[in-house]
Symmetry: C2
Subunit: 194 residues, 2 copies
């Protein structure tokens, strides 16, 4: 028994993301993805359980695509670089990115981003009892901005104005964290929370 698999979960997700990039999220359909792969719609169901599962997979791909900045730098630079990386990913995949706001971040990819932020916040001197809450508010603000930009909520403003908005957001976020511990490097205690 057995037969060479023609497609796999990874190719399906990549194809779906490409369709979203090129033609919008509404164009991501089981029939459409199958058509792109020159395969029957039903062939997909061997690799993804349902369309909802396919969208969950897209979220995973997006999270994995966010490049974690090097941790050997001051915590504030690390956090600002991460915010910029998240925004850049949103701009690369504006149609698919909003999905990130719609699913609780419980997958390994999501956890790893969150843990990195937790580390940086500890380095920043945020009291342990506040670390998780601060991460939630930080990520909500950055995601909110990235999604707003991606969906065109700011579209009546020019690029320069939106860039300045983001710079101001970054200033806000830095301002909200305890000052003065800027010289410490983030992430040199990786693993202590696992």
């Amino acid at each position: 028994m057995g037969r060479q698999a023609q497609i796999g979960r990874a190719v399906i997700l990549d194809t779906a993301l490409k369709i979203a990039d090129d033609h919008g999220l509404d164009a991501v359909t089981m029939h459409g993805v199958a058509r792109s792969l020159e395969v029957t719609p039903m062939a997909l169901y061997r690799h993804v359980a349902s369309k909802a599962a396919l969208l969950d997979g897209l979220v995973e791909v997006l999270l994995t695509e966010i490049p974690l900045p090097p941790r050997a730098q001051p915590w504030d630079e690390f956090l600002m670089a991460l915010a910029a990386a998240i925004r850049a990913t949103a701009r690369r995949h504006p149609a698919a990115f909003p999905l990130l706001l719609f699913r609780p971040a419980v997958t390994p990819a999501a956890t790893s981003v969150r843990d990195a932020v937790h580390q940086a916040l500890r380095q920043a001197g945020v009291p342990e009892a506040q670390v998780a809450r601060t991460e939630r508010l930080l990520s909500t603000a950055v995601l909110g901005f990235a999604v707003s930009e991606a969906t065109g909520r700011f579209s009546r403003h020019d690029q320069a104005a939106i860039d300045a908005d983001f710079a101001e957001l970054q200033r806000w976020l830095r301002q909200l964290l305890p000052p003065g511990s800027t010289n410490q490097t983030a992430g040199n205690t990786v693993g202590e929370t696992s």
Copy 2:
């Protein structure tokens, strides 16, 4: 010519919102709304141009449903009350509310909320050149939180934790605005921007 209209735009939008509340946004379909109204799907097209237009109408209804707090109070209380009102609306309509992040706020309803915030920010002493930008970041943060809560992104936390998150968010926002002008009332110059 002439015939008693059985349905109208308002009833269509109300019905669509009810369906979203009860069965989720995916259940909002032309066929489904028509079924609820005991009418043919095609009857809707006399009152809304397309499904996209129907969703735009839903955004309008949501914006109109946000009760603007009384303006005769200190600007910071006004802004915090407005944030709370936005969050409350999101909680009443969790399925439909995320639509607000997906359309530029150009309708009259959206403009009126934005103008009220602009007024309050001026009262707060925000320099004129910063008013629009500050409003964008403020509304992005509040919308981001409200949508995250509505979509269940925080669902692995209990209600008390999420309430505390929101309280912390409100503290952040207040902190970011110029201090010291708390005794002025907001909105007593309504109309000066129109």
